[in-house]
Every structure is written in structure tokens, then in C-alpha cells.
Amino acid sequence: MITLISSDKRKFHVLEEVANQSLTIRDVIEDRRGRRRADRIILVTNINSKIPEKVIVYWLRHFLMPEEIAHASMSHKKAEKLKKWEAKFFDTDIDTLNDLILAADSLDIPSLFDGACEKVSDILKNRSAEEVGEISKIENEFTHEEEEEEIPSENAWVWRNEFA
């Protein structure tokens, strides 16, 4: 058992095999093998309790089918199921996705990181630059002239949808 502690002091007990999906945790555990119980406690300082919950759910779902992933041909149906499940899992607001990215980055969970990034890029795909600036709360530092220079062709392009 490994205990994770979130920034708002909630404790999460996870099986070591499950938590090993995080490369950071695996390294830490590997480092401290054979030590006291206290060393099995890991601080997840930069995330609140909502996120470890999600991360653990994600781990459990993936933990249940490691063999199927190995035999890709056999588990076509199950892979499809997992895909569906992941689509549902990532279907949250952008704030949560953001936190998930941060968590996945610090805990080093590549699949979660990629999945969350994919979803964010999906959300951003069809937005305008202004909308994205608003969403990401980034001030537009471009002066008006610079902006004209930077994206002239964008406006001048003949984007037509007439053949669609």
C-alpha cells in the first residue's frame, strides 16, 4: 500500500502495483525499498484532492487490462471499450483537464498526459485566437501593427467552404 497526500491533506491509499503506472512514484518506491512504512507516503503537493481521485480511477481502469494491451489483436473489442471509457473520462471542464495535465506531468504518467493534452487540443481546435487568449487568460501583448504583420495572410486567405 502506498499513501498519497494531496495539497488539501486528503489521504489516498493505493496498491503499489497500481501506483506504479506513475514513473515518478515507481522511482521513489524503488529508491526507498526496504525502508520504513513512513517512506511509503508520497506528497502530491501541487494538486487538490479531486485530481488524485481521478488519477486513481484512471490507474485502476488501466491496471485491469494490462494483458489485453499486450495482445492487441485479441482485445480489439476491449480496446474499443477502453477508448470509449477514456473519452468519457476526459469529458470534463478545461480546469480539471488542466490539473490533470499538471498532475500527469509531475507524476510522469505519459498516457494520461497525452490523453489530457489530446482533449485540450480538441477543445481549442476550432476556437479563434481571441477566444483562446481569453480561455488561457493570456494578455495579448501584440501591438496592433504587429498583429497585422503577424497574421496578414490569415485574413486574406480565401477560406471557402463552398465545396463541402
Partner: protein, 545 residues
């Protein structure tokens, strides 16, 4: 939040100093270290733990202060922790001492290098920024409130998944994003991603009424064809119906070369940049030249090579001469390289670029076909024989391998059959027959896209683009209409090529050479010309041959 050393007297005597903290440690970490053992009351940011680090020594010598609930708790921690327990997440043991020794009443120094300078400052961690922001009520629904805190590699990861169109748009969001997205490294990583995600099509056609040559570019993913975006724009030159028709070369990293006998330009249709290449002096001018242009990328020198094959003289099988231009090297000029006698280019079949070599289909006077390969890096050429001594092959790239498709009439019945061969060993010309596609109703003429073992054939049928696909693994097939332009403008499609969407800018490659013109904005596209330098190398080599 400012740091004030003047603590209350009772606070002073229950404060411990923690030395040799890891460089990444912050107040919250400090709080949690001791919270775990219930030594401190539930931690409030910035209230109990404080971190100081010496500016002159960088992060290595940071030390922290922790105020405990009671003096007894502090004593217990000192006894239990000091030199015995390792700090969570590190291999270093705690090094604790009383922050205020009773005699001095000032913070004791944790090392002998000297007193903490006045330049000590409190480190505000990004973690706290996030937490503080979370507490503000206005950052509520669906707002990427912490985008600035998201590591840049996450932003890059997100951006790498976006189509070119969105990336171009988001360059205007902020300068950090703009510089991230215009780096050559980003452009190539994005290209690698796009290659596996989706494909596009470049088509060259004429709008009958206006008598303009137009090329348009459509992008669509393999799964959904409903979201086709088509754009088209006029060539920078005025075209009349007498202008000879244009052809498209193979595509390479999202670039294509549009050419005819006396004109060639490298275009990225996705970002609409055109580089017009100079006229070649190596070829004699005569009508009905058979030209074929191939485009390749030299990953060693990071240059694009445009290889032009042209008939030697007017007789049918007089041989092919080929010349090369490097886009991205200092000198942009056509260099005549050599000649293959007895062959002509099968100009109907466009060349392909795979594994650092461009391949053309050529045929001799007996209509015997062979493959001519040009290694982009070494500029060496080779002839590769084909498996069956027949004609009408098609060149395809599948799973990063050169393949050929041979279509013939089935001996039984009236249908056509195609054999697909894969080049296993390019040195010994070993071909392996991969599969046979039976009952073909359409002619397999380019472009042929490949995706997950499926062969896609896109062809113009009347006023629409149709896409037929055939799965080489399970033999399933189908067709769908990709593009239909029935009512608006009648378009006669002249050639269609598969082309990836990329951010590769041909103009940036041209800017490396000494001979480029200013950039124009014409019909909404960026446009630059290569001026031929007046060196005699090209004409000299012409005489030489």
C-alpha cells in the same frame, strides 16, 4: 507576502531551522513534511513554514523555518528528526536546529560561509500562485485559469496535436506561443505528428469560365469527410487558356512543386507560401518536353532538393537528363547532374519520395519499365528492376516502404486484377508480393494515399472527387464522395496529389541563400522569387555533356 523576521517572542522559541533543503522545496512542502507526523496544526500557506535561500549561492543552500504548535512539539521533532529521518522525496536527512538561540535572539546561520545577506528573499512558488488563484471566485467555469502555469512542454504537446490552421491562428495569442510554434524543431515534430493523424490533398484544376489555373487544397481526416475545408486561390501570374498545363510533383513534408516546361515553384499549400524557382538554362527549348519533377528532403543538410527530369532531345527515347536545385543551401541554382540514355520518364506516374530517395518510373523503347532512384543525400542514381517484365506499374509508399502496384486484365472474365509488391531489399532489388486485389473497377492512378494498410485512390468523376479505398488486410473496399462542386464552378481537375499538412515554410529555406527577392503578398499568399545568379556553372556543365 513579505518576510518578516520579527516573530513574537513565544513563536521564536518554538521555531526550528531546517537546513540543506532540496532546491525544489517550497513552504507547502515544508508544512507537509511535518504535517505527516501531526506536529504542526493544519497548514496555512505562508503562515508557518518559510523558506529562505541565499541568492549568491543559488538554490543549493536554501534553508527553511518552521514554527510548531508548542515548544514541546518542536523539541520532539528535533529529537526524532535531526539526522535520523530523510526528507520526503530526497535522500538527504533532516538537519534541524533552533532558529533562535536564546543568547542572540537573531536567526542563527546554517553554515559557516557567512551571515545570510540582506539579499535573502522569500521564494514564492508557482504552486502557491495556483492555489491562490483557485480561491478567487471569478475563476469558475471552464477557464484555463492556470495556463501560464502549465509547463511549456504540455502546451507544446497540445499544440502539436492541432491542425496547421489552428496553429497559425494561435500564433496571435501571445509571444511565447508564437516563438514556440515557429521554431524549426516544433515544425518538424508537428509534421511527424500530422503524418500519422491526417492527410490532405492538393488538386490542380481549371475553372472553366474564368480561364484561370487554380489550385486548391483540401484537408480531411480519414475518419470524417464531413469537415472538408477547401480553399483555392489563383496563381500569381495571369493565365490564359493558352498557357501550358501545370503538373504537381510528389509531396515531401507538406511541400509540393508545381511545374511545367519553363516554370517551377515550390509551394506549401497549407500555409500558402510560394517560392518561384529560376528558369533552367540547362535544357534546350522545344515543344512537348516531357518533364517530371521530384521533391526530396535531405535531413543531413536540412535542405530540399528539387530534381527535374527532362527529355534529352526531341527524339522519342533519346534519354533523360536530370538537374538538381538545393532549396536551403547558400546557392540556389540548377545543377545539371547527368543523363540516362535509352529511357524516358513515364510522366503519368508521379515520383515518390521515401527513405531519402526519390523514385521515378521510367520505360525504354521496348516499353520495358524500370525504377530510377535518386539518393537525395549522396546524389547517386540507380536503376531498380521491377518484378514482372510488364508495363503499367504504379508507385506507392506504404508503411515507409516503396511499393509498386501492377494492374492487368484478369485472364478469366473482364475484370482487372492488381498485384502489390513491396521492395524488401533495395540493394538486391528483392520484391515481395504482398497481396492481390481482384475485381478492380477503377483504374489505379495516383494519388494513392495509405492509411493503416488501406489503399485510397482519389479520382475526379465529373464534377466531384471520389475516393475509393481498398483494405489490403481483410479485402474490404468501398467508395465515398469526398468533394462535390456541382453547382458553383465547374472544375476540371488536372492532377491530384496526396499531401501532408505542414508548417514547413519554403520561404524560410530560400532566405538562407544569397539570392532571394523581397516577399510579396499576392492573392493572399506569400510569394518570393529566386533570382538566378549570373554564375556560369550551369552553362558550363551544359557544354560539358
Amino acid at each position: 507576502m513579505c518576510y518578516d523576521m520579527s516573530l513574537f517572542a513565544d513563536e521564536q522559541e518554538r521555531t526550528l531551522q531546517i537546513c540543506n533543503l532540496p532546491s525544489w522545496a517550497d513552504e507547502e512542502y515544508l508544512g507537509l513534511c511535518f504535517y505527516l507526523f501531526h506536529a504542526v496544526p493544519p497548514y496555512l500557506p505562508g503562515q508557518h513554514g518559510r523558506i529562505i535561500w541565499n541568492e549568491q549561492e543559488g538554490c543549493s543552500s536554501s534553508c527553511g523555518f518552521m514554527t510548531f504548535e508548542t515548544r514541546i512539539a518542536a523539541e520532539r521533532i528535533l529529537r526524532l528528526y535531526n539526522g535520523l529521518v530523510t526528507m520526503p522525496g530526497t535522500k538527504i536527512r533532516f538537519c534541524l536546529k533552533w532558529a533562535f538561540s536564546k543568547s542572540e535572539g537573531t536567526p542563527s546561520q546554517h553554515n559557516s560561509s557567512g551571515p545570510i545577506k540582506s539579499s535573502c528573499y522569500l521564494r514564492r512558488t508557482p504552486v502557491q500562485f495556483i492555489n491562490n488563484e483557485k480561491k478567487t471566485p471569478e475563476s469558475g467555469t471552464s477557464i484555463l485559469s492556470t495556463a501560464a502555469e502549465i509547463p511549456l512542454d504540455a502546451i507544446e504537446n497540445i499544440m502539436l496535436r492541432l491542425p496547421v490552421k489552428s496553429i497559425r491562428r494561435f500564433r496571435g495569442v501571445c509571444k511565447a506561443w508564437a516563438s514556440l510554434m515557429s521554431g524549426p524543431d516544433f515544425i518538424y515534430r508537428h509534421l511527424e505528428n500530422q503524418r500519422s493523424i491526417c492527410n490532405g490533398i492538393v488538386a490542380l484544376g481549371r475553372i472553366n469560365k474564368k480561364q484561370y489555373n487554380t489550385y486548391f487544397f483540401s484537408d480531411y481526416s480519414m475518419e470524417s469527410i464531413c469537415c472538408i475545408r477547401t480553399m483555392h486561390f489563383k496563381f500569381p501570374h495571369g493565365f490564359t487558356h493558352t498557357t501550358p498545363s501545370y503538373e504537381i510533383s510528389n509531396s515531401c513534408n507538406g511541400l509540393v512543386c508545381v511545374y511545367n516546361e519553363n516554370f517551377a515553384s515550390v509551394i506549401n499549400p497549407t500555409i500558402q507560401e510560394t517560392v518561384q524557382l529560376p528558369k533552367s538554362l540547362n535544357f534546350p527549348k522545344h515543344a512537348n518536353n516531357e518533364v517530371s519533377v521530384g521533391l526530396g528532403y535531405d535531413d543531413c543538410l536540412d535542405t530540399y532538393k528539387i530534381v527535374r527530369m527532362m527529355k534529352h532531345n526531341i527524339t522519342v527515347n533519346s534519354g533523360i537528363r536530370y538537374e538538381v536545385m538545393d532549396l536551403g543551401s547558400a546557392n540556389c541554382n540548377w545543377r545539371l547532374l547527368g543523363c540516362i540514355t535509352g529511357y524516358r520518364v513515364v510522366s503519368l506516374i508521379p515520383p515518390v519520395f521515401v527513405h531519402g530517395a526519390i523514385y521515378w518510373l521510367i520505360s525504354n523503347s521496348d516499353l520495358q519499365e524500370a525504377i530510377f532512384s535518386f539518393d537525395v543525400r549522396t546524389e547517386t542514381v540507380r536503376l531498380i528492376s521491377v518484378p514482372e517484365a510488364r508495363t503499367s506499374y504504379n508507385l506507392i509508399v506504404m508503411e515507409e516502404c516503396l511499393c509498386i502496384l501492377y494492374v492487368y486484365k484478369s485472364p478469366i472474365g473482364r475484370t482487372k486484377v492488381a498485384n502489390l509488391y513491396v521492395l524488401e531489399d533495395s540493394v538486391n532489388c528483392e520484391w515481395i508480393k504482398k497481396c492481390t486485389i481482384e475485381d478492380i473497377t477503377i483504374l489505379f492512378i495516383s494519388p494513392i494515399l495509405n492509411c493503416d494498410g488501406k489503399i485510397f485512390v482519389t479520382l475526379a468523376r465529373g464534377e466531384s472527387l471520389e475516393q475509393h479505398y481498398y483494405d489490403t488486410e481483410n479485402g474490404s473496399r468501398g467508395k465515398r464522395t469526398v468533394l462535390s462542386c456541382a453547382s458553383r464552378n465547374l472544375i476540371r481537375l488536372e492532377s491530384i496529389r496526396a499531401c501532408t499538412q505542414s508548417l514547413v515554410s519554403p520561404i524560410s529555406y530560400l532566405q538562407r541563400s544569397n539570392t532571394f527577392s523581397p516577399i510579396f503578398h499576392l492573392f493572399g499568399q506569400k510569394w518570393a522569387t529566386v533570382f538566378p545568379t549570373s554564375n556560369s556553372s550551369s552553362s558550363r556543365s551544359h557544354h560539358h555533356i
